[in-house]
Every structure is written in structure tokens, then in C-alpha cells.
């Protein structure tokens, strides 16, 4: 079998079933909401989500814009990748950066990961959703990813303050989704809910979906911070001495702000090798994200505040 080989048309494998389910979700939302938007994070899940969305409306262009809530601290290779995606025909990729966070010079080094993430991501997202008056926002979160997501609905209801109340979510049966919201209320939609990390990578492999090269191992300049390997991607990174960074063969399992994304030492240079490594280490991918460890249940808290 070669990368890019298409799935057989008549057997219903689990990936075919997941693909069909995700496409169904995209179409339901596009048909029933006035103003949907697809949140785009540049990561592998976003890449798969974009492919599924394109499949849902082929041969027509995407009937909704994509939105990247930028933090100004993404890896440079992510910005390159984003530019390439935005240049594809039929794609309207919007970028929002919280102007207040920029004015106040918020950064993860001086203000810490919490303040940085809250200002750029959570507040930035809320600003952008409000400004765009979006009544539905697709996100690439998966239930398997993190404990607090295991019970997340596919249509996750948000009140007019964009808040998520775990005790007040609508029951969701079959694939019949309740899309009724009042003015100002909205939903977050998770078309990848039932995908696992392995499914994502296998799909990337089978469908030959482009992903940011940072996922593949390469010699990169890194320093150690709080037990994590942080890549020195530009000169904003405070160093103890100019020759502190060491070149190491590393890759990233999840991508976010470069100062907050831990690299893993790896030699995996292609998707099968990534899967091999992932299956043999079996540590949850969020382990490398510094923002999850601030306090007990921190992801759940962020969600209630409006983070994805």
C-alpha cells in the first residue's frame, strides 16, 4: 500500500464511517445556521477538518470562512503553512489577533502561559466570534483527546455570553442534531468528535493531506524549560546565554505557541514512523502542552470560559 491510496469505495471501514459522519455534520450546520465559521489552528486536526469540509461541499467552494485566532507566537513554519492554505482557491481564511493583547505586549515569557493563552486565545476567540456574529463555529477537538472532552456533544451549546455549562447541554441522539438557537446564542461544532489521534494520522497518510513539517523529526535548536524541550524559533525567546540552545533531533506532537509547545526527541520522519512512535509510547498528546497543567481540571475551566 502506498501513501495517498484511496479508500475502497464499497467496504465501510471505520475511517469511511467516520468520514461520512463528519461530512454529514458539516452539511447540517451549513444548511441550518445563518453564519457558520470554521476555526482553524494550522495543526494536523485542522488539516483533516479542512479536507473533510472540502469533501462535504465538493465541487462547490466552502460555504463558510475559516478563522485563525492568532497569538503572534506560533512557529514560523506554521505561518508559512497558513499562507499556503489561504492561497488555495475557494478558501477564505480570516485572521484575528486580540489588539488589546498586542497593545499590552502580552507574551508567555513575562506574563506566563495562562495570561498569554487567556488574552490571545480565549479573549481573542470571543472577540472574533462576536465581531463576526457567527452562530456556529466548527472546532477540531476530539473526545479522546482529553478527559473533560469525553462527554462533549457534537453540537455544543453556548449561551449568549458564549459560556459552556456542562449541566445544561442538550441530549444528542442518533445523528439528529438540534440546531435551534436564539439570537446571540451559538454552538460550537466538533465534526472530529469520534476520531482518535491514530485515526487522524492514518487519514493524513491515506489521503496524503499536507501537514506542517514540524510534526516530522529534524535537527532543531531547543532549550529546556520546566522539563520540556522548547524550540527557539525566534529571538523573542529569553536565553540564559547565547549558546544555550542545543541542536536536537526533535518533532512536535501538537502545535501551538512555540514557547508553550514541548518537543519530543524523535527520529520519525514520515507519517508511518510517527504512527509507529505514537503507538509505542502511548502518552496522551496533550502531555506536551504546557497550558493543561496549570491546575486540576484546567481544560474544563478554560472551556467554561469559552476556550475550545
Amino acid at each position: 500500500m502506498t501513501a495517498g491510496a484511496k479508500l475502497d469505495q464499497n467496504t465501510i471501514t471505520h475511517l469511511k464511517a467516520l468520514e461520512a459522519e463528519s461530512i454529514h455534520i458539516f452539511r447540517e450546520v451549513a444548511a441550518e445556521f445563518d453564519n457558520p465559521v470554521m476555526l482553524y489552528s494550522i495543526g494536523k486536526d485542522s488539516s483533516v477538518m479542512l479536507r473533510l469540509a472540502l469533501k462535504a461541499f465538493h465541487p462547490a467552494p466552502l460555504p463558510f470562512p475559516m478563522l485563525h485566532v492568532d497569538t503572534t507566537f506560533k512557529f514560523r513554519e506554521m505561518y508559512d503553512f497558513r499562507r499556503d492554505v489561504a492561497e488555495q482557491p475557494g478558501i477564505n481564511l480570516l485572521v484575528h489577533i486580540n489588539p488589546e493583547a498586542v497593545d499590552r505586549g502580552i507574551n508567555p515569557f513575562e506574563h506566563g502561559s495562562q495570561a498569554h493563552t487567556n488574552m490571545f486565545k480565549t479573549q481573542g476567540l470571543l472577540q472574533a466570534l462576536k465581531a463576526g456574529q457567527y452562530d456556529a463555529a466548527f472546532g477540531g477537538a476530539r473526545r479522546e483527546e482529553e478527559k473533560s472532552r469525553a462527554k462533549e456533544r457534537i453540537y455544543s451549546f453556548r449561551d449568549r455570553y458564549q459560556q459552556w455549562d456542562p449541566k445544561n447541554q442538550r441530549p444528542e441522539l442518533w445523528s439528529v442534531y438540534n440546531s435551534r438557537v436564539k439570537d446571540g446564542e451559538s454552538i460550537r461544532v466538533f465534526p472530529l468528535s469520534n476520531w482518535t489521534e491514530l485515526d487522524i494520522w492514518q487519514y493524513v497518510y491515506l489521503e496524503d493531506i499536507p501537514v506542517v513539517p514540524l510534526y516530522f523529526a529534524k535537527e532543531r535548536p531547543v532549550v529546556e524549560r520546566k522539563g520540556a524541550l522548547i524550540m527557539v524559533d525566534d529571538d523573542r525567546m529569553p536565553l540564559t546565554s547565547p549558546d544555550e540552545p542545543t541542536m536536537e533531533m526533535v518533532r512536535f506532537r501538537t502545535l501551538g505557541c512555540y514557547p508553550l509547545s514541548g518537543a519530543v526527541r524523535s527520529s520519525a520522519k514520515n507519517v508511518p514512523e510517527i504512527i509507529q512512535e505514537m503507538m509505542l509510547t502511548r502518552e496522551s498528546e496533550r502531555k506536551d502542552r504546557l497550558i493543561d497543567f496549570d491546575e486540576e481540571g484546567s481544560m474544563e475551566k478554560k472551556k467554561q470560559e469559552g476556550y475550545f
Partner: protein, 622 residues
């Protein structure tokens, strides 16, 4: 840990072989039911752990090192929920979990015990191929009411295969007799529930007995282990491949030359050239092409999401269903269905709900509750209301034609949810029954109001009523009526006055002069939430009694404007008519409020009347 699942060797030595194997896996969804005490969390934790569906850092959270340095895994903690739940020590909702074995990929719907059981289980079970029910083997437990209830709900939502895991066999010394007894107990009711297969396995989730490997502790058992069963139970035959059903989701029109209808195939197979009919409108055409991102295909099978082009330019939009011309579903406005009520707010039989069925929203009224299920005995009992977690058989009328199959035949075109139009919450799930003979199709979908008294009350702030002003002409009734209307309005209570003579249309005027007709009209206004003030001659006591009966005693308030006949006559030019009327006037009984308007101070009189109306709770107290 078991080597049965261990794919590490394959992953290490030949990743491409592993990927090929993983790619070919089928998806099986199962719901695990049972209370915490039955060991459900332990079973799920054990399966996830053995199948390496748990990441090592998550596993570390669930592990404790005891005094002797032994690492003990609390399997139940692996499935731990949200912080909000941990704090309250309860499980609120259905959690979804994922693992795979060399043969299949699995999605577990993990439904909590006790609290809101029915609702959660129905949710988790709605898409499941298999239900795994745990029964505690200990003599004090066995097949309980709860096991029967779980099995019933599993069968209700159409799960084809049931696995009864007889757990805690270690606590009954792996006793075959006890196991056989439980199986027999279960089958005594379980075999009538309509499952395609029922399988029993003696297990100990805690000890790992018969979960992955056949255990030497149960030499008398030669069947499959839990994992073997989940890997092998045939599910491809459960898909309905006979009836092609295509509920159109989205019409693609990227340019003038292309018009495609996108949907996920609910059931069946479609091929290029097939003759299809669009329901409910009934036009037909043939499939010109089936498009996917990968290109055109010759045929497509459920549950794929595709786009169909038709040969003819016929009218198709979202909510329509494409079906084979020679194999059509039912079309109608009256349906019988089983519903599971999922809202704290009970069913309000007088109000209209929205239902969402496939890709359509329709207004619907629940006309009748045929019976509900007593969840203790599983018997049908009469019911006049539906509350949270009730399961009932109801009859619904939709305001437009519904295109459906019976749920038993089709879990997509036979299913719907019920939505409260005020809160937008999903309040119930419905499963459509096979239409029976003699089910009358109503001519108009909604032959009665879809707005209930409670809804009106919520909008209007109060329930309506009728204030009936009786008395002689010249008594000042009319002025009092309008003054009362003004004062009610100032108190934010909507009111209206009926004075028959004020209608320009003489036919209308004469109709309303009849006390009975006037009362019927007033009743409608009161229904709508208004305080209706009637200024109409009803000199006979019998007429007034009849009016009270029509409106309903509890919201009918009679007032006698008792201005003396001399005063009335003096106010009118035709004083003889007043005296004649007075002769036929039958005085109301002493308990009817009398207001003498000799002084003509209708403002004070209306104030007093307001007070009386409040005291009698005809209008709300401030």
C-alpha cells in the same frame, strides 16, 4: 496485561502491515450499562487498559502504590469524569471512549447509573450495535428490576445484539449453577424483547476473567470472551441495505451547469440509472451521477455521504427524501411512536412542539398518550402526563406530511427528536411505530390550537377570565366596563370589553346580544389570556348560569350593577323601556357583588371592583 491485544511487535517490525490492518477495521459502537456497583466502570477500565486505549500518563493518574510498593490500578478511575462531577460525586452524562483491537475499532458509550438513567441510556444506546449489560452474580443481586429496565431500553432503541456479562463470578466461587440460574432468569423475560442475539458470558472485571482470555477458573464455560464477542459479533447484516433512503441535506449549485443533492445515505444502495422519487412531492427522475471528492462512482451504500445528480430538472430541496420509485416509505401526518421524555419540564399536551426528523423540522402536536411503561414492571399503564424519564406510546399529528419508515425497519428514517419551541431544548426522543390499519389521517394537520393555557399564561402574565356586568340599561354598566378595562390595563393586565350594540354589523350585534353566544365569544378571549368584560343584557338568572357554565365557573365573575330602577329610568329618554326591563329582571343571589352607581362615580366603583377581582383571584394580586 495481555498479549492478545499486543500489536506492539507488529508495529515495531512492520508498520505498513499494521496500517493496512488498522485501515481495514470495521467500526462497532456499544453501550455499556449497569450501575457503578455492577462493576461497569471496572469493566470499561479493564478493557481500555488491556486494549491500550489508555495513555500512560492517564494511567498514572489512576494508579496508586500501596505500602508494600505494589502498584494497583483503580480501573474505575480510568473512566473518571468532569471535575464538576467529581466534586459532586455523581456522573451526569454519557461519556464516549475509544479503543481498537486487531479486528475492529470500538466506540463505547459509557452511560451512568441511577440518576436520569433512562435519558442517558437512550442517548448512548441510540447509535449502538451492541448493548453490554452487567449483572452482579452475588445471591443478593442477580437479575434485578434495573437489569430488566436496561434490557427493555436497549431493545426499545433497536440495538440488535445484547451481551449479558455476569460479573463478580469471583465472589460466587465461579459457580456454574449460579451462572446458569442467572441466565435462565434473564431469558425468562429477555427472549421476548426482540433482540437478534443474546449472549451470556461469566466474567470478573476486577480479576480480568473471560475479558480477553478464556479463564481456567471457568472450565465449564467454552464460549467467547468479552473481547472475542465484540470482535466477532456479525454487524454488517444489521445495516438496512434493502430500502434506499436519502434525506437531502444540502443542494450544491456551484455554477449553472451543476445541481447536486448532498446527503448521508440513511439505508440501502443507490446506483447510477436508478429511478428515484422525491417525497413528499412525488416527482420522479433517474440518477445521472453519484459524485464524491474522489470522483464519480457507480454505486453508493449506506452510511456514505455523497452527492447525487438527477437526469431531470425537478424540484428537490433540503428536507425532501429521495427513494426508489418501487420501494417507498410511508407518507402521512399522523404517526404512532414510542417516546422517551428527557426534560424536567413535563409534556404539555395542549401545545405545539417542533420535531426534527431526518433533515426536516415540522410542527407537531402530541394528541394522545396511549399508555406509558411502568419501569418497575415493564407493564403498560394508563397515563395523562409524561415526565422526565417516562417512556410512552403516543399519537402525534404533524402540520405537514412526514416521510418515514417504522423505526424497527430503519433507525434513521424512523427516529425523531422533540424540541420545545420556547426553550429550544430537546425534550424527547421518538421512535415511529409501524402504521396500523384504521389510523385516520386527519384532514388538516392542526385542527385545534397549538398554544396551551400555560404558554399563554407565561406570555400574558396571567390566565384570562370573564367579568360579567349585569344590570339595567341606564345603570352605568357600560361606563363601569370601560373604566375597569382602563384600570386593568394600567395594572398591565390585558382586557377587552364586549358591548353588543357597539358592533357596526347588525348581524354580529344581534348574535352577541344572545347571552349564550356572548359567553362563548368571551370564553375564547379568556382562553387567549384576556380579561373579557361583558356588558350584555342577561336578565334571566338561568341565562347567567348558562354563561358561567360556558366560560367555566372558576374564571367567571358576575357583578350586579344595582343602580335603582328610578335612577336608571331618569337617565334614559325611553324610561318606559327601562321599567319594562326591570320587571323581567331576576335579581342575582346575595353572594353576587352588587355595585350601586347612583352617584355615577365609576372610577371609585372600578377601584372597588378591582379589589374584589383580586380577592377572588380572578386577576393576579400585585
Amino acid at each position: 496485561m495481555s498479549d492478545r491485544f499486543d500489536q506492539d511487535e507488529l508495529i515495531r517490525s512492520d508498520i505498513h502491515a499494521f496500517l493496512a490492518q488498522h485501515e481495514a477495521k470495521e467500526l462497532l459502537r456499544f453501550v455499556a450499562v449497569g450501575s457503578v456497583d455492577d462493576g461497569k466502570s471496572t469493566l470499561i477500565g479493564r478493557i481500555l487498559h488491556d486494549a491500550k486505549g489508555v495513555y500512560e500518563d492517564q494511567l498514572a493518574d489512576a494508579s496508586q502504590t500501596d505500602e508494600g510498593g505494589e502498584v494497583a490500578i483503580d480501573f474505575a478511575r480510568i473512566t473518571d469524569g468532569l471535575q464538576a462531577e467529581r466534586e459532586q460525586g455523581i456522573t451526569i452524562d454519557v461519556a464516549y471512549r475509544y479503543f481498537s483491537t486487531p479486528k475492529r475499532k470500538f466506540i463505547i458509550a459509557d452511560t451512568p447509573g441511577h440518576v436520569q438513567y433512562t435519558r442517558n441510556m437512550a442517548t448512548g444506546a441510540s447509535t449502538a450495535n451492541v448493548a453490554v449489560i452487567l449483572i452482579d452474580a452475588r445471591p443478593t443481586h442477580g437479575v434485578l428490576t434495573q437489569s430488566r429496565r436496561h434490557s427493555y431500553i436497549a431493545s426499545l432503541v433497536g440495538i440488535p445484539h445484547l451481551l449479558v456479562a455476569v460479573n463478580k463470578m469471583d465472589l460466587v466461587d465461579y459457580d456454574q449453577a449460579r451462572y446458569d440460574e442467572i441466565c435462565a432468569d434473564f431469558l425468562s423475560f429477555g427472549q421476548d424483547l426482540g433482540f437478534k442475539t443474546i449472549t451470556f458470558i461469566p466474567i470478573s472485571a476486577l480479576m480480568g476473567t473471560n475479558i480477553v482470555h478464556a479463564s481456567p477458573k471457568t472450565p465449564w464455560y467454552d464460549g467467547e470472551t468479552v473481547i472475542e464477542f465484540l470482535e466477532n459479533v456479525p454487524i454488517s447484516g444489521d445495516r438496512n441495505l434493502d430500502d434506499f433512503r436519502y434525506p437531502v441535506q444540502y443542494v450544491l449549485r456551484p455554477n449553472l451547469n451543476y445541481r447536486g443533492f448532498s446527503a448521508q445515505i440513511a439505508s440501502g444502495v443507490v446506483r447510477v440509472g436508478d429511478e428515484l422519487t422525491v417525497l413528499p412531492n412525488g416527482q420522479s427522475s433517474r440518477v445521472a451521477g453519484i459524485d464524491t471528492y474522489e470522483g464519480e462512482i457507480e454505486q453508493a451504500v449506506a452510511p456514505l455521504s455523497v452527492t447525487i445528480r438527477l437526469e431531470d430538472e425537478i424540484d428537490v430541496s433540503r428536507g425532501d427524501m429521495l427513494v426508489p420509485t418501487d420501494n417507498q416509505p410511508h407518507v402521512g401526518r399522523t404517526i404512532d411512536a414510542m417516546v422517551v421524555w428527557m426534560s424536567e419540564e413535563p409534556l404539555d399536551i395542549n401545545k405545539s412542539y417542533q420535531i426534527k426528523h431526518t433533515t426536516r423540522y415540522l410542527r407537531a402536536n402530541i394528541d394522545e398518550i396511549a399508555w406509558k411503561v411502568d419501569l418497575e414492571t415493564l407493564e403498560q399503564v394508563p397515563a395523562d402526563e409524561l415526565k422526565l424519564n417516562d417512556i410512552a406510546r403516543v399519537r402525534l399529528t404533524t402540520h405537514r406530511q412526514l416521510v418515514f419508515d417504522a423505526y424497527k425497519r430503519n433507525r434513521t428514517t424512523g427516529a425523531f427528536i422533540i424540541i420545545d419551541t420556547l426553550t429550544n431544548n430537546t425534550v424527547a426522543a421518538g421512535m415511529i411505530a409501524e402504521p396500523t390499519d384504521g389510523m385516520e389521517e386527519s384532514e388538516f394537520a392542526t385542527t385545534h390550537t397549538g398554544v396551551s393555557p400555560n404558554e399563554r399564561k407565561r406570555l400574558m402574565g396571567s390566565a384570562g377570565s370573564v367579568v360579567w356586568l349585569t344590570g339595567l340599561m341606564g345603570s352605568g354598566r357600560r361606563a363601569l366596563g370601560f373604566e375597569l378595562e382602563r384600570q386593568l390595563f394600567d395594572d398591565e393586565i390585558a382586557a377587552a370589553v364586549i358591548v353588543p350594540e357597539h358592533y357596526d354589523d347588525p348581524a354580529m350585534s344581534s348574535l352577541l346580544t344572545n347571552p349564550e353566544t356572548c359567553a362563548a365569544a368571551a370564553r375564547r378571549m379568556a382562553d387567549a389570556g384576556l380579561v373579557c368584560i361583558c356588558v350584555v343584557d342577561a336578565h334571566a338568572a338561568a341565562d347567567r348560569a348558562r354563561a358561567a357554565e360556558i366560560v367555566g365557573d372558576e374564571r367567571f365573575f358576575e357583578v350586579h350593577v344595582s343602580t335603582p330602577v328610578e335612577v336608571c329610568a331618569a337617565r334614559k329618554s325611553d324610561d318606559e323601556a327601562v321599567r319594562l326591563a326591570a320587571a323581567s329582571f331576576e335579581d342575582p343571589s346575595a353572594d353576587v357583588l352588587a355595585i350601586d352607581l347612583t352617584d355615577g362615580d365609576d372610577e371609585t366603583a372600578a377601584k372597588n371592583l378591582m379589589r374584589a377581582l383580586r380577592a377572588a383571584k380572578v386577576i393576579p394580586t400585585r
